[in-house]
Every structure is written in structure tokens, then in C-alpha cells.
Symmetry: C2
Subunit: 370 residues, 2 copies
Amino acid sequence: MEQTISLVGCGQTPFGEHWDKSLRDLIDEAITAAIDASPCTALDIDMVIVANMIGERVSGQAHLGAMAASMLPHHPPALRVEAACASGSIAIHTACSLLESGRAQNVLVVGAEKMTDASNEEIAAALMGAADSELDAPSGITFPGLFGLVAQRYMHEYGLTREDLSCVSEAHHRNAVQNPFAQFRKEVPAQQISASPLIADPLRLLDCSPISDGAAACILSNTHASSIRIAASQVSTDTVSLAQRPSLTSFNATREAIAKALKEAGVTRSDLSAVELHDCFSIAAIISLEDMGFAQPGTGVQLYKRETGLRINGSGGLKACGHPVAATGIKQIIDVSKQLSASKARWGLAHNFGGTGATCCIHVLEHANG
Amino acid sequence: MEQTISLVGCGQTPFGEHWDKSLRDLIDEAITAAIDASPCTALDIDMVIVANMIGERVSGQAHLGAMAASMLPHHPPALRVEAACASGSIAIHTACSLLESGRAQNVLVVGAEKMTDASNEEIAAALMGAADSELDAPSGITFPGLFGLVAQRYMHEYGLTREDLSCVSEAHHRNAVQNPFAQFRKEVPAQQISASPLIADPLRLLDCSPISDGAAACILSNTHASSIRIAASQVSTDTVSLAQRPSLTSFNATREAIAKALKEAGVTRSDLSAVELHDCFSIAAIISLEDMGFAQPGTGVQLYKRETGLRINGSGGLKACGHPVAATGIKQIIDVSKQLSASKARWGLAHNFGGTGATCCIHVLEHANG
């Protein structure tokens, strides 16, 4: 990245069930926390980017750019972006472009989702908006169903066992115990995951990220400095429909995005100490590790079975932190930043995708003192 | 604008009722037309930005960035933006930023909306997503109602008559006769407008832009040249809720955006020959002319009553062209471009807002041979 874009303030709500808070309340809380944590005042913000997926359908509220800008005294320019579950990282990417263009100096990015106000059926239908409404949805399949197919095929191709799969959520839950913002801060043994209710064979309840409310915000600046900078911001896409893919067990958008991101940052995989990846379902974590080149096809789960130099979803990931859809991509950036700061490591990566990997957005972060 | 961003290809579907086409079909048709009209091949497109407001709610389809990118053989990076009825121009603004950032060279921007598949009640509810879901919507008011309040107050403050108001739609309908893409290509006399059914007093049916299907696309490039360039791209915001405004008869976001846009382009109002403005309701056209400084407060309608050097909504505007929400802002750019090319005039302007003026995005276009 040619310009220095610094992460100068981060804030988030706890992820979980916020019965007493609206979408607007969640956004307000995260924005306030991010500004308070930054060297900026609200008046320094010259652009607001809001990431949200299901607000119009579930809360009757579109136009969230202006809504968030209204919370600042000077109503800066604003817009909303959406790329299904990758909305948060796509908002970060858009912010980077605006900073690089010279049109902004301090961009406030906030991702938020209010999901628990709607029934599970309504949320399942809304999330299917991330899939292909003509080629996938008419079959009646849901997102757990789509990833159930992926998991079935992966087990067929590579011999992954139920016990293997349970290692993923087990590790993520273990990590979340230390995360005060996580929805589920408790260890869950693999046996309990394997015995949890069947959702979409072979995926069980504890393979699936939950329905969550939450918001996460950060301020990206080319004016104020911090110890964390965005070293790469890359997006790739693939067909939205799973039916149009040559393979169910590898997501090409991740493969493309990681290659571009490593090149932009000028790093290799072995330079990375922390990765927050998109474990919407346990199988997605395994495939993402392979697509990012941290493991050979069929061997991703091994990274959960032995010590490596790479910390995977140290926050707890989507499974244990919760997954308020458009907040996730921003929360990942915040968590990578925290982990680099805490460990004094230099490089970390956030991997966020939408749909069954149709949009993938990857950011590399560098800690100046790492 | 420091960089030369050229408009190198435009395409649109006719706006209207497309019972035989889905949201995807409309996007495909507009994209194909834009690429065919450009010096680019599909493979030159290195970013896709989709503008859409109600697709998830009405068509069950979010994730439209990747969906549109899927229509190109190489699946370029993509995202969706939304700012209610200003979504189209906000997509153009985002494209300009991406080009200026150096991250893209040829950005395909497409705005689309499929509205006629849903009931009028469902569309009215979906459009209320552009208003404030906590402060405005719970009153039961609809968008015609919000603009009915604005018109009532305007008549009270300035003595505008019913006959005055009808001049607006009459002029726009007259212009649309020559536009092959307009939904209503027929003249409508002022008396007929004044006698049309009452929708939200004092607004009548023929004061209101219709429910429409349609898509519009363009390619913006910093590599390929054309005779039309984007000379300014500016966004401003205001409170989403009308209840939080100091005035009902002036929209501050328009006032801010025009000042910034004229400054960026280095032009004055008198340099402009053509303006496409956001006449979602007839009263909005009058207020917008005043907020943009083409008329003093209370006198905007006079520009419809006498010859001036400024052509207003030569396309027919939202009223007569139709208003497939997120397509409108892009279609305005296309129409200004056409008018500058046809008249050999140099400067034109597109004014697009969302909600009751909570987001306003203004573009100034320059014709090189004008």
C-alpha cells in the first residue's frame, strides 16, 4: 500500500443478544467507543462508511450512512456498503480507497447488525440474500444447508471425520474465554460439539456461528498516526451460486485475495503471527486455511491439532464471538490489531467472506513496533 | 478533481414495468449496453460497483456486487453501495474514489431496481427504509406524506399555488416525449395534473414519480479517454429524520453539496447548461432549484415558467422517466452526458438525493468540445 493508513481508534459493543438496543443504539455505542479511543474528535471525521446487510429487511432501516452521520454534530458525508457477510471488510476497503484518493483524512467505519428482533425463519430467509436468489434459494436450502453440502463433499474427498470437525469450534470457544466482547465465553469440549443437535448434516449446532446483535467501529486515518497500519486491502469475487463453481471444497475468491494481499503487503505467510478468519461454519475455517495457503488441501484441520507459529481466531472467531453479519469484518480488524499490540508481533491478517465465499476481502495489518 | 476521470460507456434499460425481467436480467442488460458502448472489453473492468436499495427486501437478493461481477468472465472485485434514492450517484462517487486511489482503472457502475414484483404497500414500506425508522416511520407516514408536509409548509411560507406546482410535472412530461428510455413519453397538461387523484395533500398522483423497474450502467475510466469527464463529485448529508430539521422547505445537504461541487469543478452556476435534478415529487424540484442557488427561496417554480439558459430535466426527470430507485443517479449522469454531447455545451450537473434530502450527491460533468 503506497499511502500510510493508520488504525487510530477502535470500539465495539459486546456481541450477543441486546434486547434493549436498536440498530441505531448499537451503531452509536460503537462509534462513541471508537472516537473515544482515538486521537480524533468527532469533528475530525470527514467520511462515514456504514456496513450493514439486513437492516432494511429486519429493522425497516436503510440509508444507514446518513443515519450514522447524523450522530456526529457536523453530519459528514456518508454511505453504506454491503457484500453480505463480507460487508464489514468491504467497508474498510472502501475507506482505504477514499483515503488514498485524497477525498478524506479520517474515515469512520462502522458495521452493525440487529438480528435478534426477528424470528429464526426470517433471519434464515434474510441471510439467503447472500446466496443466489434464482439458482440456489429456490431449492429451499438455507446457509447451514449450503455449508452442509460443502462439508459433505469435503469429508468425501479428504476423509475428514466428525471428530476432526469438532476441533475447530472447540479451539475457537477456548480462545473466546479471554475476550470480554465474545457472545460465548466458555470452553466447549469436542465431544459436546459432536453431540450437539444436527442442523444440516454433517453440521451440528456447535459448528455454526450464532445469530447476534452487535456493532464494531474503527477510524482509519492518513493524518493521525498509530502503531497499527493497514498494509494491504484486497477484494476478490466468485460466482454467487455454489452451483456454478468447479469445486465445493475450495473458494477461489480467497485464493485470489490472499495472493494479492501478500503481494501488496510485501510479506509471506510465515511472516504472519495472527489470523482472524471467517468461520461462519467450522468447515469454512478449514477450507479458508487451505485456500490461504497455510495448509495443503485436505489438511487444514491439522493446524488445530498442533502448535504452530500462527494464532488462529484468537478472539474466538465468528463461532464464539458471535456474527452480527456486517460488524464481523470490522471486529476482525480490531482483534488482529489487539493481538499484534499484545504480542508485539509485526504482521496479522483478517479474512472475511460473504455468501459461500463469493466475495472475499483480506486485510494485512502491520504493527510498527512488532 | 485532480485526476481525469472519463465517462467512456453508458447503457440503460428502458425504465418502466418489466414483468418478464428479474433484477439480474435488468443488471445484465444495462452492463452489456455500457460495455458495448465503450472502448473497453469486459476484461478491462477491474472493479464493479452496484447501487441498489430494495433488492434484499423485495427480490430476496443482497450481495449484488458479486452477482454483477459474476456476469463478467473474470469476476472482478465488486461491492454494493446504498444511500436510499441517492444510491446511484453515491456509487459514481465511490467509483471516482477508487479510480483516484489508483486501485482501479476502469470501474463499471450499475444501478438497478426491480419494484413492480411487489405490492404497492410493500414498496411503500420498503421505501420508508430511507426515512428514520424510529422518529418518522412509527407515525405511519409514507414518502408521499413526508413530501406532502414539505409542500404544505412551502405553500404556507411562499404562497405557491396548485397551478404553480403542476408546471413542474408538465415540463418534465413534455421533455420525456423525446426520451426513448422514459416510462411515460407523453405530454400531460397542467390542468390534468391538478385534477389527478389526491395522494398526500397537496400532492396529487401526477406530482409523484412512479414505481419503476430499470437499470443504468456506466464505465468510468482513468485510462480510456472520452469527450465527457467527471469534473466534480461531492456528497453531503443531513439528519435522516425530517423532525430534526430547522426547516421543511430547504434541504441543507443540497446546499452543502452544490457549494463543494462548484468549487471542485471550478465553475459558477451560470456556466451550467443542463441539470438533471431529483424530482421524486414536484415540490422537490422547486426546492432543489432554490437550494442549488438557481433561484431565490420561494421562486424556484419561476424557472419552469420562462425561458432560461438552463435546461432542467431534459430527460423527463424522475416523474416522466420513472424512478427505479438506485438506477436514477446513474441514469442522470447518462442523460447529462447525452445533453452535453447533443448541444455541444460544456458544463452540466446531476443532482440526486436520498430520503427527504438526507443524502445529497452532486456531479458536475464537462464536455471537452463544449
